[in-house]
């Protein structure tokens, strides 16, 4: 059929214009700014070449942030995804009450990370908090969940996992709809064969769900911000800092917008591979439909 060429563009004009102004142009602009030194206020922006990047590679706090992001990645993709699958397997049954159980586990997904941070703030609080109270009751020592530099990142990941596991579970519950019910039930009762069946039959059938759950978890782990900023601001002494948080602090607390942009660019480049993989996967499965 012949349509005038401009027709689709007419429909796209406004959305595309807005998207260009607030998304595409900023991406380009951040790249440009990463080669500059700018305090965010003065009219002159000084071009300094690769200096920001050289400084970044020698910045110990940035190093800590990258390592912490890797911990987040392992926690999200390596722990939250399998736990989400396990809970999904458990709840994908026809017993009475499964619906309510599922709803209750979904709940953290509706919360903002600010609220989640606030809630965990009391749970993790050193002197009166819930976890330390329980530890003390059991005769164990209190842990400085948010003050001990060796522990704090894991505490943050734990708080975020509360929501992330709900998300991966939702993805797997959707994936399990493609798996015949008898297979899942058998996997729970069938003793010796259960594990083999799980690995050789169910896992391969869940591949699409796994790809989505893992890539989205990785992308989210590399852009974690809110919960870190709300609970610790990256502290104590940058020990729980992640790239997103360090970028914000450098740009908006220390007014080093050029340096902040360089951090964003590195963060972007690290994430890019996963984004491209995901896009290829989604668009390919789109065409197969």
């Amino acid at each position: 059929m012949t349509t005038k060429k401009w027709v689709p563009y007419a429909f796209l004009a406004v959305p595309l214009a807005m998207y260009s102004i607030w998304v595409i142009y900023p991406i380009i602009s951040t790249f440009v700014l990463s080669f500059t030194s700018w305090d965010g206020v003065s009219p002159t922006i000084k071009f300094i070449g690769l200096k920001n990047f050289v400084e970044l590679f020698n910045d110990p706090y940035f190093g800590v942030s990258v390592i912490n992001n890797i911990k987040w990645l392992v926690g999200f993709a390596g722990v939250c995804v399998p736990l989400g699958l396990l809970i999904a397997m458990l709840l994908d049954q026809k017993f009475k009450g499964t619906k309510i159980y599922k709803t209750l586990i979904y709940l953290p997904m509706t919360l903002s990370f600010v609220v989640i941070g606030q809630i965990w703030c009391w749970i993790l609080e050193p002197r009166h908090g819930a976890i330390n109270t329980i530890l003390n009751m059991l005769g164990l020592e209190s842990v400085g969940w948010l003050s001990d530099p060796n522990v704090v990142t894991y505490s943050l990941i734990m708080a975020a996992s509360w929501r992330q596991i709900s998300y991966t579970m939702v993805i797997y519950l959707a994936g399990l709809k493609q798996v015949p019910n008898q297979l899942i039930e058998a996997a729970w009762v069938d003793g010796a064969n259960a594990w083999k069946r799980f690995i050789h039959i169910i896992i391969p059938m869940l591949k699409p769900a796994t790809v989505v759950a893992v890539t989205v978890s990785i992308i989210d782990s590399l852009r974690a911000f809110d919960i870190v900023y709300v609970l610790t601001r990256g502290g104590p002494f940058y020990s729980s800092s992640v790239m997103a948080n360090y970028m914000y602090i450098q740009s908006f607390h220390n007014y080093r917008m050029g340096y902040g942009s360089a951090i964003a660019v590195i963060q972007f480049l690290i994430t890019l591979g996963f984004i491209l993989f995901y896009m290829r996967y989604v668009l390919k499965s789109e065409e197969e439909r």
């Binding site: 349509t3 807005m18 709940l107 997904m109 600010v114 939702v170 959707a174 729970w188 989210d220």
Partner: protein, 273 residues
């Protein structure tokens, strides 16, 4: 029988674990500080229910104002992004043109990038457009940014509508806009409802963009307001907890009312959480 037992024991344990943070916050919000600090019994209801903590949070801690602000920001953002993305998705789903595939990829890619890539330029833009520290600044940004996910989502849904319907309308000589309005929009209404609920929750829960684009207390949404409370009310855990629940209650209700749509939206797009 054995199966049933395994299910109920394991299931109940997990659910209890999952719900306990909610219970702890709710019980905290209705206790006095003395009771909290002395008894440490987080998991138990209070001796006397102190709902006045909610009044303190709502009025003295200004959560009422923040709450209203979130509505003022969220509703136009959701409607705007739904409308504009339905236009874009319509073009990408039904017309064959050169840039179609590239544009789709641009929309998909944009929603996955780290927000830090946009932070500084968006902040500068809103300063130079004179919309820094206003509702419009955040609303316009949300509309634009959420276009990525929404366009992708709606395009996929429109692709499932048989194109013969579209072709027939074309042959009948209907105008392009008429086809969009009278034929396609009614068909995608269910998808837009699911999408709208998801978007409502996401925008309601936004913290970062309000943090960067809003400065004055009078425009701040609940998420920013809640963090603000940490200053003056940091020792009043009960008031903070009431504030947290005020910030969470609307998305919770929306979710409980429209759970099916919410989950559908999340898994059909399978894109982000």
């Amino acid at each position: 029988m054995k199966k049933l037992l395994i299910f109920y024991i394991l299931g109940t344990l997990i659910v209890l674990l999952w719900v306990s943070p909610f219970m702890i916050s709710f019980f905290t919000s209705v206790k006095t500080m003395d009771e909290l600090m002395v008894e440490h019994q987080w998991w138990l209801p209070p001796d006397i229910w102190h709902f006045e903590n909610y009044v303190t949070a709502w009025t003295d801690a200004n959560m009422g104002r923040y709450f209203l602000n979130t509505f003022i920001i969220t509703i136009p953002s959701v409607l705007g992004t739904l409308f504009l993305s339905s236009l874009g998705a319509y073009a990408l789903a039904w017309y064959k043109f050169k840039l179609s595939r590239i544009l789709l990829m641009v929309f998909v890619g944009g929603m996955l990038i780290p927000f830090q890539m946009l932070l500084i330029p968006v902040y500068r833009l809103s300063l130079s457009m004179n919309i820094y520290d206003s509702y419009q600044g955040v609303i316009l940004f949300h509309i634009a940014f959420q276009l990525g996910f929404c366009t992708f989502f709606l395009r996929n849904f429109m692709k499932t509508i048989p194109s013969s319907i579209f072709d027939a309308a074309m042959i009948d000589g209907a105008s392009h806009f008429l086809i969009y309005r009278k034929l396609v929009l009614p068909l995608v209404t269910p998808a837009m409802a699911a999408l709208g609920i998801l978007e409502f929750t996401w925008i309601w829960n936004d913290y970062l963009w309000s943090l960067v684009l809003i400065q004055s207390d009078k425009y701040k949404p609940v998420t920013l307001g809640l963090v603000n409370l940490q200053g003056q009310w940091v020792t009043s855990w009960n008031v903070m907890a009431a504030g947290a629940i005020i910030a969470a209650v609307v998305p919770l209700i929306v979710f409980l009312m429209f759970q099916r749509y919410f989950i559908e939206g999340l898994t059909v797009g399978s894109v982000k959480g």
